[in-house]
Amino acid sequence: MTDTAAVASARWRLKRPSIIPGFGLTLGFSLVYLSLIILIPIAGLFWRSAALGWSGFFAVLTDERTLRALYVSFGTAFVAALVNVVFGVITAWMLTRYDFPGRRLIDAMVDLPFALPTAVAGIALTALYAPQGWIGSLFMPFRIAFTPLGIVVALIFIGLPFVVRTVQPVMEEIDREVEEAAATLGANRFQTVSRVILPGLAPAILTGFALAFARGVGEYGSVIFIAGNIPYVSEIAPLLIVIKLEEFNYAGATAIATIMLLISFAMLFVINLIQAWSRRRYGNA
């Protein structure tokens, strides 16, 4: 008797025993639903792209227009994420450290890009930054909308909350004593910020950057209105997928999508690495 019990407990087990019911039902439903909605369709994409073969895949990817579109998507997303890091950190700092009238309202406003439909953001930004728009007219003859710069504007809008909301909670956790400690050791305020506060925030800032960047690369709705969509210049990769689809060029669409998907998975992996690394070393995420 005792022997079999011992064997049973040493055996591989999916789940630790628990008196709470419903594990099979809830996990089962979750897995089925997940598979039907997410996994099988994505697997379908990879299956289709595998059917293209290396040569087919390669042909799509070496196409000049595709390369330019990928370049535009990644380039603008990178620049926008950088801008968001700078202003996102300043915004988060203002929201956590300073008290002024309207702070709560601004705090709530930061989430606007999460809640506002991307198409609405797209037409609103276009109206503003177009040559005859409120902001666009200020910069004439320098054009913002209908150039890659317009894409950057849209991606700044989309990515801002990712940086602010990743950095803000970590900033709130900063112990004032740490800043005072730096001061007692002779550091001036600039040294305290640049050598103590910002390096401590680095993992959060990096995570926020990666999230904003990943979101920017895939963004579609807010970009297509403001971009001008000139092939080789301001045509983004997601738009090229749509164009290929409309031409019933499924192979082309699939190949570009596969590349983008692989890159986003890589980004996801990197984000997880950053967080695991920072947890291990500093004991916080």
């Binding site: 994505i42 606007l112 895939g218 689809l245």
Partner: protein
């Protein structure tokens, strides 16, 4: 009383908190941030309403009651009414399994649930085009049975479910993990059934987080553009949701109508933000963080 801020040398010097910037630096930072937020958040928001009312109330009103616009509002509400409850049930099931039990592969499952957040909306639509399109196995088969998925309402619902998939689960998992299993075990030991335990013990504890997740899920469901645009086919008045209708009007240079429909969506976004802020203030439900 001697002036406390006067040093022995007679120089006056104000105290500055060593864990604080000077007033000048503060003002510069605040102005920088406000200018940035003004250019990128506030002005776009304002411009939606300005453009919508450019030609007055009548034009605005007519743009909204026009049959195609009304149809798009109707479709949008219907899609959200299907997609949100589906993801709500999934969110509850997934968070129950993940938060209340220890099992192998849990971290991986959470990553999979988050997946739609890191996929371009266009690709989210594309996968269904590939699955149900003319070149696929399923599409022609379903078509022969008279079932249209692509360029029809089911496709729009599927694409919306895909992009809003993680919202409820994402809010509930950390919340339920924080609450642990003690309450449920206590209820069960007192003789409650599994359902009673969920209904009377678990649900009251997570209701605000749940509401919060539903709110975000709904906002995205009504506002989704990229994924829906790929599967919709844009049959005017039939498969155009509000965001798609905005695009059509915009491309027809019908700006007032485009911004009028957009203003409804903006209003929805503002209500969502207001409710979210209220929930955070009152109940500290979740935090605003994360990936949406």
């Amino acid at each position: 009383m001697p002036d406390p801020l006067r040093t022995a040398s007679g120089r006056s010097r104000a105290f500055r908190n060593p864990a604080d910037e000077g007033l000048g630096a503060k003002i510069i930072l605040i102005l920088l941030a406000l200018a940035f937020l003004g250019f990128f958040l506030v002005l776009p928001l304002v411009s939606v309403f300005v453009e919508a009312f450019r030609k007055g109330w009548m034009e605005y009103y007519e743009a909204l009651v026009e049959p195609d616009a009304a149809a798009s509002i109707h479709l949008t509400l219907m899609v959200a009414a299907i997609a949100v409850p589906l993801n709500l049930v999934f969110g509850l099931c997934a968070s129950w399994a993940i938060a209340k039990f220890e099992f192998k592969g849990k971290a991986f499952l959470i990553t999979l649930i988050d997946l739609p957040f890191s996929i371009s909306p266009v690709i989210s639509g594309l996968v269904y085009v590939l699955l149900f399109g003319s070149g696929s196995l399923l599409g022609p088969l379903l078509k022969s049975w008279g079932i249209e998925i692509l360029f029809a309402v089911p496709g729009i619902v599927l694409a919306t479910v895909f992009v809003t998939f993680p919202f409820v689960a994402r809010e509930l998992i950390p919340l339920m993990e924080d609450q642990g299993t003690g309450d449920e075990e206590a209820a069960l030991s007192l003789g409650a059934s599994g359902w009673q335990t969920f209904w009377y013990v678990t649900l009251p504890n997570i209701k605000w987080g749940l509401l919060y997740g539903v709110l975000l899920c709904n906002a995205r469901a009504m506002g989704e553009f990229g994924a829906v645009s790929v599967v919709s086919g844009r049959i005017r008045g039939v498969t155009t949701t509000m965001p798609l209708h905005v695009e059509i009007l915009y491309n027809e240079y019908n700006m007032v109508a485009a911004f009028a429909v957009a203003s409804l969506l903006t209003f929805l976004a503002l209500v969502t933000l207001a409710l979210k802020t209220l929930l955070e203030l009152r109940f500290g439900a979740g935090n605003a963080g994360g990936r949406h």
